[in-house]
């Protein structure tokens, strides 16, 4: 029963597809790997890849909850020399992207230059460097008052990279960047010693159960790719832990009102997350292990 939701979602996505039979083409590897068939199509991967949260959301929450910033938690900038394959470059473009966002949210903008350079280099190696406005970001990073602009240029740049990769049938690279981003966000959020509101962080971690389901569906498109196998096993092991998190919902019709000409829709449904400290710690341990493999 543990894969019920992903299985249903795959079925739902397959049923809702436009009929485009395109496969999850893969230009990831330095040497192309053959795959017999895709579990879901490129189009379906593109539909669900945006379910991976923007790292701004997690880092903003940590900042709001009084989490103390620690530079030691970031992927060391010097690690870039270890990333010699496109697989590693894509994953760590994601980890460095999250770290850059995290530094900016915590007003460490002026210390982010090495991370900007790393993102520029990795994006360049993956042939998506044109979407990362390194020059403007470097200039804006000299002044910590430009955080909103930096975050918009960074995040929109990553969105443009992802869209371009999908247009170029390099969806696998886009998925890896997204997974690197997500794992790094979870790593930062599960390594908190002190927070004024730990419950909110715990709940947000628990809510990642649904994101994980989406990631498993996306990874199924690359099930025959050798490079993905280890990552997929790790993600499935993480899923076993996340299955202990209980999420419940109540549904009620939303209500609509117009305020100053703007349509406002108020959700009347609710959700609640049950996650113990023990489960949180298990998730933390597993995420640390996955992240260690990614960054080394």
């Amino acid at each position: 029963m543990k894969y019920t939701l992903p299985a249903l979602l795959v079925f739902f996505l397959a049923a809702c597809g436009s009929g485009d039979p395109g496969t999850a083409s893969d230009l990831l590897s330095d040497s192309l790997l053959n795959r017999n068939e895709a579990r879901i199509s490129d189009k379906q991967v593109i539909e669900i890849i945006t379910s991976i949260p923007n790292p701004v959301e997690m880092s903003s929450l940590l900042q709001k909850c009084g989490v103390i910033y620690s530079n030691d938690l970031l992927n060391p900038a010097g690690n870039i020399s270890k990333y010699n394959t496109n697989y590693k470059k894509a994953l760590n473009l994601g980890t460095y992207g999250t770290d850059l966002v995290h530094m900016n949210i915590f007003d460490r903008t002026t210390s982010s230059l090495e991370y900007l350079n790393n993102i520029k280099d990795l994006a360049g190696d993956l042939k998506v460097g044109q979407f990362f406005d390194h020059e403007t970001l470097t200039r804006l990073s000299e002044n910590s008052k430009n955080v909103d602009s930096i975050l918009f240029i960074t995040n929109s740049g990553f969105d443009r990279m992802s869209n371009f990769l999908q247009e170029q049938n390099r969806t696998s690279v886009s998925v890896l960047i997204g997974i690197g981003t997500w794992v790094e966000s979870l790593y930062l959020a599960t390594n908190i010693e002190k927070a004024t509101n730990k419950d909110e962080v715990f709940n947000r971690i628990g809510e990642q159960k649904e994101v994980l389901d989406m990631i498993i569906i996306m990874l199924s498109a690359f099930a025959d790719n050798e490079e993905f196998k280890d990552l997929m096993e790790d993600i499935r092991a993480l899923k076993i832990i996340f299955d202990k998190v209980k999420i419940s919902y109540t549904y009620a019709e939303p209500t609509m009102k117009e305020i100053d000409g703007v349509l406002v829709i108020v959700d009347n449904s609710t959700s609640s997350v049950a996650i113990s400290e023990e489960i949180f710690n298990e998730i933390s341990t597993k995420i640390s292990a996955i992240r260690t493999k990614i960054i080394n």
Binding site: E47, T50, D148, F152, R160, I247, V266, S271
Partner: protein, 150 residues
């Protein structure tokens, strides 16, 4: 306030030629970004749909998943590229249930955007179509309400 500086920067870029450019390319996002107002940029979706050739057929729809968090307000907005006739509609679904839409077909009112006061965390679907199945190009943008920084 910090976003204000960026809007000024964009103003210089787009107002120098005389009018705001909103063509079907990467710049469409920069033109649409100020419509977020005080909301923080989270994601964007480029939308390009060809004219529906079958008479009477429903418009073609593009859809994407997104995870929203209860306790936050979101804005969903979309901007059309100027060289196309199509007027984009952005809608939000929870499962198969419509949560909200920028266009009210009953009154023919096009709000262009809407705010969603989210109480239920989970996977939602953002969908796009062009009114009357016209060909169109647009960018959809999701923003989250700014949280107070220290």
């Amino acid at each position: 306030m910090k976003k204000f500086l960026y809007i000024i920067l964009l103003g210089f870029i787009f107002l120098i030629p005389g009018k705001a450019s909103a063509q079907c390319n990467d710049e469409l996002l920069n033109v649409c970004y100020p419509s977020l107002g005080e909301f923080k940029y989270l994601k964007s979706w480029p939308v390009k749909i060809k004219k529906n050739k079958k008479k009477g057929a429903p418009p073609s729809v593009l859809r994407f998943n997104v995870v929203l968090n209860g306790g936050y307000k979101y804005i969903l907005t979309a901007c059309d590229a100027e060289e196309y006739e199509g007027k984009v509609v952005i809608s939000l679904y929870s499962g198969n249930a419509l949560v909200g839409s920028s266009y009210d077909a009953k009154t023919n009112k096009d709000y262009k955007k809407f705010i969603f006061d989210c109480k239920k965390s989970g996977v939602y679907y953002v969908s796009f179509y062009f009114i009357d199945g016209e060909e169109g190009c647009a960018i959809g943008v999701l923003g989250q309400q700014e949280m107070n920084r220290k």
